[in-house]
Symmetry: D2
Subunit: 367 residues, 4 copies
């Protein structure tokens, strides 16, 4: 599989740097006949878009997506996918490359600066180039198209923890997610986070976060053991997101502390008058997969975002010549990258699930 | 990409079921000229082999590996890899299929039974067939060959937690790993675990565990952003191991609770008289990768194993006809699958690193 | 994609050398539930098997296939594919490695000897190792399974030309193919070839041949533009067969000599009372594909086999030290490798078509 | 491998339709540090560009390429590849969609119209959409970058036959290729072709052609048996080009008519005072590959282009409703698509060779 391509039969390739003229994605393998216009994509890009609150970077990017290929007017006049590659383009407009003069000279610890220089011999230091979180805009655009392939599935990601301050599971209400700038399902936690994140922002510090993602409506049978397990692909997709350092399915690391009895997900026959013959599960410690295949329960994963390394506190480092120096990262940065990670996690989940729907159809046929 | 193949240029395919005649791996893309005999592979299979202590399943499998292709006598008379596919075969000898009569009738909650039936329409219920942990023997064999490709790297995996009882980092000593049946680097923890695991075994219960893996000697520059990030491939490889529910790189979920200052890995110029020009890092919260590329620091990951669902306590479930029933899983099972997970985690790490060494050589050339 | 794997969703990997203990194939992505025993595979291996007439190599190989994984007894007691990798093994029994002492010393012009040494630094010179036509036995075995995936398709390959002596299209009768040792559909040509090939055999010379393959019953819609075109995959598969130097679809090179009018394949509405709504084509210059997608007409390709380089006439060459020498290739060889190429071409066609049936189902759904 | 992506480690993805806003390619896996500007690409696009003589379509397309990503200023101020994906964009400017009103109604025999409709349910009928030869502009752009990866190789493609009228091998002179509108190395043939092609153009007919491609400077050792054979990848790449119906390596189908003695490529020690230790080959029937690996001789292939199906003579066909009708293809078309095929064949050869240089480096290391 190539470096910048993800997926097995529904494959997307992203390209572009933070401060280049544009970035984009090419989505290949999309079924034909799906109604698709930029209106199906833009809302997801808007959700991820920076500069919408004081809690994210102030870089102003309209992130308007263009569809350059793969669609045509169907007989009903609606613009539909043709089954050919869908090329999505997003222009960069608000680059401030001068902000990066210092970054060009020395390595920001925790950033990809040093690693890119060591690998490639030099680097596009403007905003981290390819290692910038701006790359995730292309995933969000591709993910919006992927959602059209799996209308039976509902995907919701939200921030469940910032800087160690977690939401209250009792107080959780998915309707709250849109009511605060943190994609937070707990109104009280959202209130607390305002102070927490604002303080980090003012002090030029940064905070880590945990994003949880739940996909409901996934039928039993998606996932292909043993190296294309549904959860293995989710893990790869999530770990490829900037600043992500951990991925859990279901109880994840918590399950390692349970006994077999505690971790069991007992099953019962379908409920009386249920509209499906699917059995009932009395628990979902597994997070919706068994043996790498979906069970019909909600697919649940949690993703850990580290605090961004872009902080104002001077940190010991070296310059390109290997001499000792210090660096304070100015420029515009997210005090908590995990917040805007929520729409990205949703997009990756959509891309993995849509890919596996098609993979399953290839091997087993229509469900 | 295919279902049962892992890797990008160094690719291996595993095949075989728990109770079939044999299982194996085909490793493709291995460089030519490496001295290879079964003696390079067998010790790793022996480490993973069941039935060696009362803390693992009593199934007796010699797990003798055969090399069926890809090697030939070099001019020095040594058997060497030829650059063609290396076919590794391991025969199954101690199947007791009768143990599975009950499993054939009803689904074991937490096992792949139900998911496989829903996906494929029927399943090989003997020992879980393809979903059995026996598949990991093939990975361990392939991993042993992968190690020969990266002699500069030392990989060590150990169990750092069982049933919530963690090792003492102060008391940690890698030399201890071989002195106890738990791959435990803390002699005192190993003692405690004897009672813990034995109790679970006697009561027919099971325990989860956490395996940590450290790879030293990885040069800066391995890993290919953005979807072939070194850590993304590690996450995929680890999550594809049976019973794994979580993967962390470096501080992982812990990093989500740190501030940018706390999480920083400051750099200093190479130490006086160091034999490399590599800078010193004052910390390794990142776990050896930045932007998906190795930094030259040790690559560190942690893997969460759930408790096996094979327990003697009756659990509510349904039979193939969807009727309510109960199941107690008899047969021979590991009270803590995470223990034997350590050699498997080591093998997956070796396979991912060897693949990325070759990938990096393809794009950037010799280091 | 890896070196020794072919296919996109139905993928097979072959391994093994001519004089190793065995060779085999692992077929991944096969749909579950197909009735499969060795009896479905053996007849195709027997057709390809050497030593059956004086017109092929006298090496005696039973080529008995073993199925090591991927099958299990269904509820009807029939052994069926489970959807997991199918591992096929064929043991080598009649190696005569001593025959190759001379080959070890010098390069046979036209063989892979020199190229393998230059690439890998050394080679398994016994029977050409991995470059031996024995590798094709594994393809034939995998191809037999692929046929089960496309029961709607009938594939027939035959030799249409040996040493420049072509069949008479008027006299062509597919029922004749099994009545002669040349897979020849023209009884008179078969008679002529007896003398032609026998003479080459006696004089230690060799002859080239052309194999034609026709697949009927392929529905319109298989093939995925633009780099997974059905004809592009056929070309890759055929050109990967030993000794193949050319591939044509439909009129192929002949089409380059036609005008647009001559090359047209006019269409007409479905015939009265036809059992399908498919249109009638008044010609098939295109060989059943347009834009890389099947049209519903027979898929037709022709494959050119060079004469084997293993001849008794001394040829100028160099030894491993680069010194001038001469070589006469003794040992047992096919005077015309193209003859046994027919079953291999059939197998590759089956593998490509089955792969594209599943690929099409992934993107477009059931037809 | 996905539908619209080609290559193994150097992978490119093309997107775009003939009458969409633009088309492009994303090239992934390119080594870092190569000096690259649009000036390295434009000349190859210009060579392929339509409307330059009366012998090609009159569609006027500047085919100006833009580099949207993957390059940055190196320390020497030169724009260099960074090792990240290179996104190349070419805008469509001279669409005349109204020309296609008739095509929308009925299927052009020999075109992809019918096949696309049957596969995808509907199609972008404007200029054939994705099945248009305009897609090859993206390959030519990607191929220009690939050439920078293999500076040691010289690739030359030329038309050696049009409408059955072949060049005279004796009169062949590569310097002539640029002196005529046919990429013809034989000045006399070029003269003859003027009349031939002009007549076809005037009468609204079309002609087939054969393009030959020679790559010199390819070192021994490129190509990865058995399914990534250098010649197998060349065959796939060439057959994926619009209108191509056949591919030959070396003597190709001619070799099928030779005896082993005639087809031999005898070897001799390196010539006195040769600057390489490479042996001399006394012939090159094999076309530079043995066992799928380059031998160090020139790599030679021939590609057959059918006459375009776009002719003014009415042809029997059916409309979308399946009713009988006739079609005359108006609009602007190449009387001989094979002519402009030459730069495309060169580009595909460059892409395959560059990919295999990197693949070989991955497995075997620097040569």
């Amino acid at each position: 599989m190539s470096w910048n391509t993800f997926g097995r039969v529904l494959r997307f390739t992203t390209w572009g740097e933070s401060h280049g003229p544009a970035l984009g994605a090419v989505l290949d393998g999309c079924p034909p006949g799906l109604a698709l216009t930029t209106r199906d994509i833009q809302p997801y890009l808007d959700a991820r878009r920076p500069g919408q609150s004081k809690y994210t970077t102030q870089r102003q990017e309209p992130d308007q997506v263009k569809i350059l290929s793969g669609v045509f007017d169907g007989q009903d006049g609606k613009q539909r996918t043709t089954g050919t590659p869908i090329s999505l383009l997003i222009e960069n407009t608000d680059q401030r490359s001068k902000d990066y003069s210092e970054v060009a000279k020395a390595y920001r610890p925790g950033h990809a600066d040093y690693a890119y220089d060591r690998k490639y011999g030099f680097r596009d230091y403007r905003g981290g180039g390819r290692s910038s979180a701006r790359e995730t805009a292309a995933r969000v655009a591709a993910g919006a198209v992927a959602r059209l392939i799996i209308p039976e599935v509902t995907i919701t990601a939200y921030v469940c923890e910032i800087g160690g301050d977690a939401i209250d599971r009792e107080a959780m209400n998915l309707d709250e997610i849109g009511n605060n700038p943190f994609f937070c399902p707990d109104a009280w936690a959202a209130k607390r986070w305002e102070g927490l994140v604002d303080e980090a922002r003012k002090s030029g510090s940064s905070l880590g976060a945990v994003v949880e993602c739940v996909a409901t409506g996934v039928p039993a049978g998606w996932g292909a053991p043993v190296y294309a397990k549904l959860d293995a692909d989710i893990a790869a997709g999530m770990m490829s997101i900037n600043a992500v350092k951990g991925v859990e399915i279901g109880d994840g690391f918590g399950a390692a502390r349970l006994s077999g009895e505690q971790n069991a997900d007992p099953m019962r026959p379908a409920a009386e008058g249920a509209n499906t013959g699917d059995p009932q599960f009395l628990a979902n410690h597994a997070g919706g997969t068994a043996g790498g295949i979906s069970t019909g329960q909600p697919v649940v994963c949690r993703v850990a975002f580290k605090p961004t390394s872009s902080i104002l506190t001077p940190v010991e480092t070296i310059d390109a010549q290997g001499n000792a120096t210090e660096i304070r990262t100015k420029g515009r940065h997210d005090p908590c990258v995990g917040i805007r990670g929520a729409p990205v996690v949703e997009a990756m989940m959509a891309l993995v699930l849509a890919d596996h729907k098609l993979l399953d159809r290839a091997q087993v046929g229509e469900r």
